[in-house]
Symmetry: C2
Subunit: 371 residues, 2 copies
């Protein structure tokens, strides 16, 4: 089966690497003019001239980036199956629709308001109680298009800085940690869940994910499973879905946002789980049985951001796995990640610190648990 | 680092798949006119016109097939580093040199003679005691160029059938099982060993490999380690070396042959070991630290020969991993392999039988042990 991917960055690259062993071939459609995947047939199409050729080449279409014009995806759906569907994209690329879906499915979220002017932003900030986070409704990615308001008086400045017609304003959550759940739904409706990960961001960019969590109550995993299952079934979803959540001091989960694709917080599964999220996404979209999601060992993923790490030094550390994206260095750019496995969490955290030392500018890890 | 591979079949394909995550790019030189790798830059060069372009493109050269003209490899070595070296190729492609090296390093082998005529073959058969196996000294691969003599009188017929100027004649060994050891030597001389595998052939083609072995005495693994270490050090070898052995009823090991490359009996490591043989070969040849060779679980590899299997059925079986080579079907052709993992050997053997049922023409597995 020839798989078409909209986008030709590191997620497309890792999908292709997972799919060759399944006998797949890949055609990647790049609209940026700057593809980095370095694998498969890459159609560079910044002026949107080659969609027909792309569609001719492929049997099924998926994507690595959900901020695509919905009309384009609907057009593609008229010719070839697209998984996840345009409906998933439409919901996931719009924070208002996403929150409305969470509400409809009784998935708790932080308190929020929608603001369509600086005045409404100011009123929302006052009502929710500062600090609040204001986010553009569309095109948010990796912390761009966001602002934190420490008082309602900052509303006009924040409104101008973000520069969007509509914002979501969210109350700050006193969370213990950020976590995520990744699940996969097959074309036959079968659903499998990965163990939840704890994620550490800095500057809006993911730095560390660790899974499974040594102190996670089974009931919390089951709650997360039930939330993401509700989303998958409601959207008649096919493929990998990621849901980011806050865990509060009392253990409760509040949904933050979701992504209709393979997700950075699931990269640990490439070495730490029986079947990676990439392979399971591909199995799902081509109607194959889904693979086992069990974790093999305590695993931590470290993102390499902006500058390459000292990889020989990191590979000296036992049971580390390198995943380079073959990109040039640029501030804030995701260049690679490293997965570290260990027999126990004390050993894992020691190895992670050693890896972090080999990564320029990597913030120190902060974990919510002590092993 | 751009890695050049001589050959563009499934071993080159799997090397490339293991190397992209290390940040490598690949240029594969195919001299057959019929490459199947389907990945990397493939230079199709049946008339040997493009060696200079290949050498310009790459930083280091390796190969997936040792039956290459030694003069060609020596020529390449004058321009770029080649691992393993032309000396390893020269030894491994010539059974007389290989046996002489085993003898020199006190690695036991079945009793053997060299025959340069039908008369010498007849005399060797009489001396060793029939049955004997006669093998062409060069270009043997997957059971081609071999004959079994049940009596010395068959010598003339066997000589004519094999049609080579020199043969190795080997006494039959009353072995319990065929096993193999795979080891990796780095550019700094570091050596790591994989757990030994038991291999089942039919018609000269590998069908099953299982590792680690539940009934293998540590001392036997250490003996195999010492044999292959002697070979690696003697050849100042860099990369993966595979050594096939017979294990006799009393537990002793007799060397059969070796291959200076990633090896079919090591494909189980792709899912069953912390670091695959492919990644470790690439780490070795570019001077990176070698990865951990520990097995993750009891693992069995099944080769898919001649006709594709029922992959959806096989992927229904938990913890199976498919590795397709994207080739067209042809009798005796290696098309794919499947790795099956399990918690224990009883479970593993049951799953292997279920997988074998989904493979047309697969012989039933026969194991030397009962779980």
């Amino acid at each position: 089966m020839n798989i078409g991917i909209l986008g030709a960055g590191q997620l497309g690259r890792m999908l292709a690497l997972a799919g060759y062993p399944l006998g797949n071939r890949f055609t990647l459609l790049d609209t940026t003019g700057n593809p980095s995947a370095g694998i498969g047939e890459v159609i560079v199409d910044p002026d949107n001239q080659h969609l027909a050729a792309f569609l001719d080449a492929v049997d099924v279409v998926t994507y690595e980036f959900e901020h695509l014009p919905v009309a384009l995806v609907e057009e593609i759906e008229r010719h070839k199956p697209v998984y996840p569907s345009s409906r998933a994209i439409a919901v996931c690329q719009n924070r208002v629709e996403e929150k409305a879906l969470f509400d409809r499915l009784s998935i708790p979220t932080p308190a929020y308001r929608v603001a369509s002017s600086a005045e409404e932003l100011e009123a929302a900030a006052a009502e929710l109680g500062c600090p609040v986070v204001a986010k553009s409704v569309t095109e948010g990615y990796d912390g761009k298009g966001q602002a934190v308001l420490k008082s309602p008086e900052q509303a006009h400045e924040a409104w101008a800085q973000i520069g969007h017609a509509q914002l979501i304003v969210e109350a700050f959550v006193d969370f213990v940690r950020e976590v995520s759940i990744i699940a996969v739904r097959g074309r036959d409706g079968q659903v499998v869940f990965y163990p939840m990960a704890e994620n550490q961001h800095e500057g809006g960019i993911l730095r560390y994910s660790i899974a499974p969590l040594p102190d996670l109550d089974d009931a919390v995993q089951q709650t997360a499973d039930s939330y993401i299952r509700a989303l998958l079934d409601e959207l008649d979803y096919v493929g990998v879905l990621a849901l980011e959540l806050f865990q509060t001091r009392d253990g409760a989960l509040l949904a933050n946002e979701m992504a209709p694709r393979v997700h950075n917080s699931g990269h640990w599964t490439m070495d730490g789980a029986v079947t990676s999220q990439f392979e399971n996404h591909l199995r799902a979209i081509q109607g194959l049985p889904l693979g086992v999601t069990r974790a093999l060992a305590p695993t931590c993923m470290l993102n390499v951001i902006g500058r390459e790490g000292d990889y020989p030094k990191m590979l000296e550390i036992k049971e580390t796995h390198l995943h380079c994206y073959d990109k040039t260095e640029r501030e804030g750019r995701k260049l690679a990640h490293v997965n570290v496995l260990a027999d126990d969490y004390a050993d894992l955290l020691a190895k992670v610190e050693a890896c972090a030392d080999a990564l320029p500018g990597m913030p120190a890890p902060r974990w919510s648990f002590t092993p």
